[in-house]
Subunit: 328 residues, 2 copies
């Protein structure tokens, strides 16, 4: 860097500005610095710098699927917090596969990330014990860790699901179906539990054929929905367990002859423009990410306190689809 | 690792399986290996391994906004391709700010990414010349590089925009508005050009007040739309320049007294359920990402050929909103 400064006839600070892409350098000067950089083959290298501090200024983010719009605002919120601490984001998808989650997480640890934000697919995170013991700050978000005590940020899925179901009951429904994601996922079981508790609180039975859990594959979801909507005693309302399931349900109901009430967990873009507008229990994905990142950087700043669990609220947004009366 | 194998009484291959999260190890054995790992404080470290090969098995992804649903499938496609080559993804948002793009990209280079996939915000990428000369495979996607010859994957924005506009003209519209993203963005200018060329091909004038470019902030877009829909000679149709603009236009038109035709560039989830269903020119974001990653890994595999430019098609999906006749 000294050689570059000497050759370009500028100070070290100016070279640093150009090398880091910071503003405040005149175009002519920047051009001279660039020519010196190219001539000398100089490249900024952060690995020496970060190793000196014992940190890599890298945060690992493990989530279910980078392509799922629910995780976009969450990722961006973690990125912004990391950026505020001069850190970059290594991100990857577990695809709801515990083996892939562990492979990816350990690969991130082997790159010496300073911290991890994990939306877990696995129910056993003891494999992270050596990493946490070595100082990797680890925060679980959206779902808790398995067999490991760690910082966790959750949505109050139970309360949200109870509210959704009670809302449908309050609008006169007695036969309500729940279609959810895979049963090993924490959010699925919590939302199913909320549905069951709300039904029980209203002294309503839950028939076996009114609940269907499985992948969010549209074909599987459509099949489950069609079964609930068929027969002599079809459900008159649906509570759908996440954004992927809700999108498929909205598509199916749009072409269905009988108006069927619908409340979805998670909001969907344009949901308010559907006919009827989509009633949802919404959680704040960006806030989940921001809160997780705060816990992570608190811990990296030396917080050696016991693991914390933060639970964020989910709120009902009534727009029309959840207020349809039962068809007779 | 030998110490761990010795202490656990297993072979090196078994330790490697546990450490990498690979399946095929009996639970008891895995537990013994884990205990040895914890007792010895062993952690897998990939930096030595990657440095030996001269590669870090890391790909940098720079895009506009991790939270924008358009970039979700693109990111996931790059991740999958990287995973196929044993590489991880460092991802970040430029926020459409050239300074932030350069800062982020140079920070990625300083971490010694093997390659970069960039959705550029800047119009001058000469700052990357030393990195490319040092062997960083670099592919630009969605928009071309500025002042730099590099691998590029684009959508045929010009043809897509012409098709969208010609479609509205074919349905009888003469006063058509175009609301787009910021004018320095390549996709904006190409789509504007397509709109102008289609209007000119039909001998239709384009009044100054029928085009509005700027940020995708909903307030700005709504203001621009309201201006075009007001006055004695309002537009009877709108062509919206990307998914963010289209979402705002769909919301506004849903509450507008006069039916106004709408074709959007980029598809939106649930767009087919709007009333009327949304007509769009759709591009394949996952294919953009996959193609960019292919070019990148081809180059890393030793392809020293001249930079390639791949142009992918965009296709009209008529669903209803673009087929509305002009109001009289």
């Amino acid at each position: 860097m000294k050689d570059v400064a000497h050759r370009a006839g500028v100070g070290l600070k100016t070279v640093s500005r150009v090398v880091n892409g910071e503003p405040g350098v005149l175009p002519d000067t920047e051009q001279r610095v660039r020519e010196a950089i190219t001539a000398l083959g100089f490249r900024r290298n952060d690995s020496a710098r970060t190793l000196r501090k014992g940190r890599t200024a890298t945060v690992g983010l493990v989530l279910e699927d980078l392509a799922d719009p629910f995780y976009g605002p969450l990722s961006r919120a973690v990125e912004e917090a990391a950026r505020g601490h001069g850190a970059l984001l290594l991100a990857g998808s577990s695809d709801e596969d515990p083996v892939r989650e562990q492979e990816l997480t350990l690969a991130l640890c082997a790159r010496r990330v300073d911290g991890l934000v994990i939306v877990p697919a696995s129910d056993d995170h003891r494999y992270l014990e050596p990493e946490i013991a070595a100082g990797v700050a680890t925060v679980f978000v959206d779902r808790p860790a398995g067999l490991l005590d760690a910082d966790t940020v959750l949505t109050d899925n139970l309360a949200g699901a109870k509210e959704a179901t009670a809302h449908l009951i309050a609008h006169g429904h007695r036969r309500i179906g729940f279609v959810g994601d895979q049963p090993q996922i924490h959010t699925t079981t919590e939302r199913l539990r909320g549905y069951r508790e709300a039904m029980a609180a209203a002294d309503l039975p839950v028939r076996a054929e009114w609940t269907a859990l499985g992948t969010t594959d549209p074909g599987r979801v459509e099949h489950a929905l069609r079964a609930m909507l068929a027969g002599p005693d079809p459900v008159t309302a649906l509570f759908t367990g996440n954004n992927r399931v809700t999108a498929t349900a909205a598509r199916l109901l749009a072409g269905h002859p009988r108006p069927t009430a619908l409340v979805g967990f998670d909001d969907l873009e344009l949901g308010e423009l559907l006919d009827p507008p989509l009633t949802v229990v919404a959680q704040d994905a960006a806030l989940l990410g921001r809160t997780a990142a705060e816990l992570l950087f608190n811990r990296l700043a030396g917080g050696a306190a016991a693991p914390r669990r933060v639970v964020l609220p989910a709120g009902l947004i009534p727009r029309g689809s959840g207020e349809l009366p039962p068809h007779s």
